[in-house]
């Protein structure tokens, strides 16, 4: 990850923050606006960060995973289902119900990833097709079960009205949270904080451990890795499953941390944007995180402009249209992928089936 890329990312985020400050400064102080934007950016970037890390583990080991979207959607549904099931049927308190939900989401992500691994590593199915299968399967299963269990006759709640245990509470971070003014940026919910920690952990694992070295070897030159005794198939399986579990945690964000309900297709392309973030970050954890923050900032901009609607000057009227502002992350993704902002280099064996 070169400094130029980080500079461009900082510039884009700066422009978006600047827009909000310019519009809102007549009502709030700049510091309040910036901390609020920063807090929202970090929160909404959570599934993108986790999705990008998920893609990172898979692709560093040489397996393309475009099924992150489906893994997140499936995890969002089953995690949410587990949490309200625990809350309604076993009368568990809110906190243990939610934690069960998070664990279920992570396991769901791992299971979807296992399917992807079986398809793409063992059965040598085209990896992009395999990922598409996962996306369609997740959309179908969650849509079907959602309607069957809540609107059809097959309720699993034994006649009880299901009630949701709410969302995960905010956590006060000891030192960082006490900084005056800026402290509230770190007043985040647990999955958002875990995502930040996982960026650092992934960087360490990939570049400073034997596991990371082996993973990268398998993704760059599997034949050479095999020759020195690394089990290519096993490394790929493990990394894809780890990636799926991270995507599952990202899925949990949607139904256990952001809002406390499920809607069909609620991931709304975040899995794909996460992949774009990973590519823009040149397959590095910090780069992917920075890119995820760009998309988070675009979304935070959209949210903040809704709040500041009345203050938008008439010559900037287009900013009032949420459809126009809503285009930003998608157009940005495409611009990034054109390679306008420096070429990115994927792992050499990315997407290639390993045949002995």
């Amino acid at each position: 990850m070169d400094w130029r890329r980080f500079a461009i990312i900082a510039l884009i985020i700066g422009i978006m923050f600047g827009t909000v400050v310019l519009i809102g400064v007549s009502q709030n102080s700049a510091l309040v606006l910036i901390t609020s934007m920063l807090a929202t950016t970090i929160a909404v970037a959570t599934p993108l960060t986790l999705g990008a890390l998920s893609g990172l583990y898979c692709e560093r080991a040489g397996v393309v995973n475009i099924g992150i979207e489906g893994m997140m959607l499936g995890a969002a549904f089953f995690g949410w289902l587990a949490s309200i099931y625990m809350n309604t049927v076993f009368h568990l308190a809110a906190m243990p119900s939610l934690l069960t939900g998070v664990v279920t989401a992570v396991v769901t992500g791992g299971l979807f990833a296992l399917l992807h691994a079986v398809l793409s590593i063992t059965f040598k199915v085209d990896q992009i097709i395999g990922g598409t299968v996962i996306n369609i399967l997740a959309a179908g299963i969650t849509g079907f079960l959602n309607r069957q269990m809540f609107f059809g006759g097959g309720s699993v709640f034994g006649g009880q009205i299901p009630h949701s245990p709410g969302v995960l509470p905010r956590i006060h971070v000891p030192v960082l949270g006490d900084i005056p003014g800026l402290g509230r940026v770190f007043e985040q919910q647990p999955i958002a904080l875990a995502a930040l920690a996982l960026v650092v952990i992934t960087h360490f694992v990939l570049f400073y451990t034997r596991w990371g070295l082996r993973t990268r070897a398998v993704g760059e030159h599997p034949a050479a890795a095999d020759t020195v005794g690394i089990n290519v198939i096993r490394m790929r399986y493990m990394n894809v499953i780890i990636g799926g579990m991270l995507a599952g945690l990202g899925g949990a964000y949607f139904t256990l941390e952001s809002i406390s309900s499920f809607e069909p297709l609620m991931t709304n392309g975040r899995g794909f944007i996460a992949l774009a973030a990973m590519i823009f970050g040149n397959w590095t954890p910090f780069g992917a995180w920075a890119a995820a923050l760009v998309f988070g900032a675009a979304q935070a901009l959209q949210i903040n402009l809704q709040f500041l609607r009345q203050l938008i000057p008439p010559q900037w009227a287009f900013l009032q249209n949420s459809y126009v502002v809503g285009l930003a992350p998608y157009v940005l993704t495409m611009l990034i992928l054109t390679g306008l902002i420096g070429r990115t280099i994927p792992p050499a064996a990315d997407g290639k089936v390993y045949e002995k």
Binding site: G130, R147, Y323
Partner: protein, 373 residues
Amino acid sequence: MQSADQQGFLRNLTRRLDPLIVPLLAILTAVVIGGLIIWAVGGDPIAAYRGLVQGAFGSDRALSETAVWATPYIFAGLAVAVAFKGGLFNIGAEGQLAFGAVMAALIGYALPDWLHTPIPAYIHIPLAIGLGVLAGAAWAAIPGALKAYTGGHEVINTIMMNYIALNLTSFLLNGPMKDPNPLNVVARTPSIAESARIPPIFVDLRVHWGFVLALLVAAFMWWLLWKTTVGFEIRTVGANPDAAKYAGINVKRTIVISMALSGALAGLAGAIEVTGLNYRHELGFSVGYGFDAIAIALLGRTNPFGVILAAILFGAMRNGATRMQFLTQIPIDIISVIQALILLFVAADAIVRYIYRIRAREERVVLTRGWGG
């Protein structure tokens, strides 16, 4: 004991049937697993499937509705299939379809007003459809050009174009193109003029000439892909871009043409739905067609005639599902699960071959390439 002749005949027969055997077994396996899921959630799979078949083929009206469902599936399936032939994965059929539909609706309702004169049907219908096709082609040509000239991967770009299309059509259908009727509360265009409507084939049935057009277009695509220079270039670039380059084919231009052709077919799907069936465009109607089209193209083995069969199967399932839900209260979403399973087993034909102990053919078709290619 069999004679050598008979053995040769049998071997020949299995080889000829092989392209059909795996999809059929994939469908069978998916239907069995779908039945298990229905049973697991407390339904009666036999009754559900009986309702499904009845709803799809049980009467003249059922057959007509199956054809109505199959029509956009044939076009959209062909769209994805053509892209596959060119070595491209078009996940953006949904957005291209939406744009074709928006354009056809605009020409359909607004053109007579702009010209202050009624337009004869033989001009109005082709114009609405033709511009819808162009809109779809243009929408797909963008990711095609990005792929050819900058290397931006079409999988992500076509998906992004889907979301951009969704935002833009939301804007248009809630704003400038919204049906001004005071009773209207949904995001939709006004009704198109009578002169822009494709007539139904039979009185009292909804199946329209768009279905016949779909069959003709499928035949045309077969001719285009296998009997013309353009088709040869598309297939060569899809099979091996390096070889295509050494053979003097303009690879970049061919990639753009493949995507534009794919988008044109998706736009046609949208335009035909507007001019032949709904007589307007309503927000959200295009959702889901993109992924269904991928499944249909793969199930049809990217062959135009295979696509027709796969599209009719999917149309029958979607159509019959309504009656199944009415009779057995099984949600129609089970169809999406079965379709995903079909796609799973078609894509992973190794699984089907493993379950049913069928030997693999020698050649493997490369459908897509990773980020590098």
